[in-house]
């Protein structure tokens, strides 16, 4: 029997809350984190998209100036979320050689990289900061969290675009099950609301153009959805071997019962229209967790609000869950947070764990005319989940054909 892995600490900094209690309160209420971007560069570059979902609490209000100076914004978000999850777990004594980090990002230190490039062009190589490399490297968030916690059982950075945060939990579960660690700080961080990534995502027609109405732009499953809304922030979850958590009398939110990762090998960006890779990921995750489709009561969907993405996920859910798909309360929380790219899976995992723990499914906003091709039971006002043993899933899919699924059970 594999070691059981439980979740004992949660952290987040997001567009709808700078910590978990605020984010969760808003997620149950249903608010939008999307706003017009107030920076000069929107006009300077005549960007086709002028809004995004920026963190509601700037990192500068949480970290000291000197701390922040040495971290890319993605790393700042990671450290803020991981510190909250660590405090939340109440953990005091830990064998640091058995404490690991699996902290993902989709893009890494893109602000640092492009700022340094601007500096090089404007002022020459002497002015490129010596901290540039450790700040831009994609393992920066994982490394900073490892340093901050003294985690010495490895600091890992799964990178699979928008599936990265979920893949971090897949890796964390594996590290504990295989005996390589007893405690793992998992999460994902992203800070890519910079003119260049906005231009690039807009160029591939991935972003909503609802510039005159940002709060209604992220509308998964709605017939008038026209793309995703760029988000930023981080989510963090402290995983512990069950016996480790029990020995210290920890408060346990739920069990990370299973995970899986598959690849479409279909197209570099387009989802497989039949959702075959996602279906295999869903089935494999449920198998890994030793649960049946009939046990599943809630899904936190990937549902980014793109015309082409939301429907294949429905096909995959229908295939993997069979008739149970009609009895599952589906939440598309990107409607509120925007799409946090490599952090989205981690933030949505926090919400999924809380949904199971508190038996409340968070809200999908902006669903006015549901796409008839996606007849899911979408949660549009906070809804109670049933008593008894319950199972929830959270899906993430990334450019490159990455599919990742986690399975959370109550304890």
């Amino acid at each position: 029997m594999a070691r059981k892995v439980v979740i004992t600490g949660l952290g987040a900094t997001t567009p709808i809350g700078g910590d978990v209690p605020t984010m969760w309160e808003n997620a149950l209420k249903g608010v939008s984190g999307a706003r017009t971007i107030e920076a000069d560069w929107v006009a300077e570059f005549e960007l086709p998209v002028t809004f995004a979902a920026q963190v509601s609490t700037p990192a500068s209000e949480v970290l000291t100036r000197v701390e922040a100076k040495r971290m890319d914004p993605s790393t700042q978000f990671a450290v803020i979320a991981a510190r909250e999850a660590w405090r939340d777990s109440g953990i005091e004594e830990v064998d640091h050689d058995r404490l690991a980090v699996a902290f993902a990002t989709g893009i890494g230190g893109v602000w640092t990289l492009l700022d340094a490039w601007d500096t090089l062009k404007a002022k020459g190589p002497r002015r490129v900061l010596p901290m540039t490399v450790p700040m831009l490297m994609p393992n920066g968030p994982a490394a900073a969290v490892s340093l901050d916690l003294g985690a010495r059982a490895g600091a890992h950075t799964p990178v699979s675009a928008c599936a990265s945060g979920t893949e971090a939990l897949h890796l964390g579960l594996d590290l504990i099950r295989s005996g390589k660690a007893d405690v793992v700080m998992c999460g994902g961080a992203e800070a890519a609301i910079h003119p260049m990534p906005i231009a690039a995502f807009a160029a591939m027609q991935a972003l909503s153009r609802r510039n005159d109405d940002p709060e209604h732009a992220s509308r998964p499953y709605d017939i008038d959805r026209d793309g995703f809304v760029m988000g930023e922030g981080a989510g963090a979850l402290l995983l512990e071997a069950e016996e480790h958590a029990l020995a210290r009398g920890a408060r346990i939110y739920g069990e990370l019962a299973g995970t899986s990762v598959t690849a479409d090998a279909y197209h570099i960006t387009a989802p497989d229209p039949e959702g075959l890779g996602a279906t295999r990921a869903l089935k494999a995750a449920m198998f890994d967790a030793r649960v049946q489709a009939s046990d599943v009561v809630h899904v936190n969907a990937h549902a980014t609000s793109t015309p082409v993405g939301d429907q294949p996920e429905y096909v995959a859910l229908k295939t993997a869950l069979g008739s149970q798909v009609d009895s599952v309360a589906v939440s598309a929380t990107k409607s509120q947070t925007g799409h946090l790219l490599g952090a989205s899976g981690a933030v949505e995992a926090v919400m999924t764990v809380l949904a199971v723990h508190e038996r409340r499914a968070p809200v999908t906003i902006n669903l006015e005319n549901q796409d008839p091709q996606i007849p899911l039971d979408v949660v549009t006002s906070a809804r109670d989940l049933p008593a008894g043993d319950i199972v929830a899933l959270s899906n993430s899919f990334g450019f490159g054909g990455h599919n990742a699924v986690i399975v959370v059970k109550n304890v």
Partner: protein
């Protein structure tokens, strides 16, 4: 031309900006590494910021000779004259 006191004050400001150390703790006889706990990456940032502030050039091979705050102040003063 800045006096040694002015250079020290300017340097203390740069060190404070980079490390958060109180400016008054940046004294002439303090060692950057042993007393102020400044690592090589921070030292390079301080050097480059000092170059800009005082309009001097501090060659990379010279940086290792700047063991104390006083060494840096003297080097900057000499380069300015």
């Amino acid at each position: 031309m800045a006096s040694n006191e002015e250079i020290l004050a300017g340097l203390a400001e740069i060190v404070n900006e980079e490390t958060g150390l109180a400016p008054e703790s940046v004294e002439m006889d303090k060692s950057f590494t042993d007393d102020l706990d400044i690592d090589s990456i921070s030292m390079m940032t301080i050097v480059v910021n000092a170059e800009e502030k005082f309009g001097v050039r501090i060659p990379d091979e010279e940086v290792k000779n700047l063991k104390t705050v006083g060494d840096a102040v003297e080097f900057i003063a000499k380069s300015q004259s």
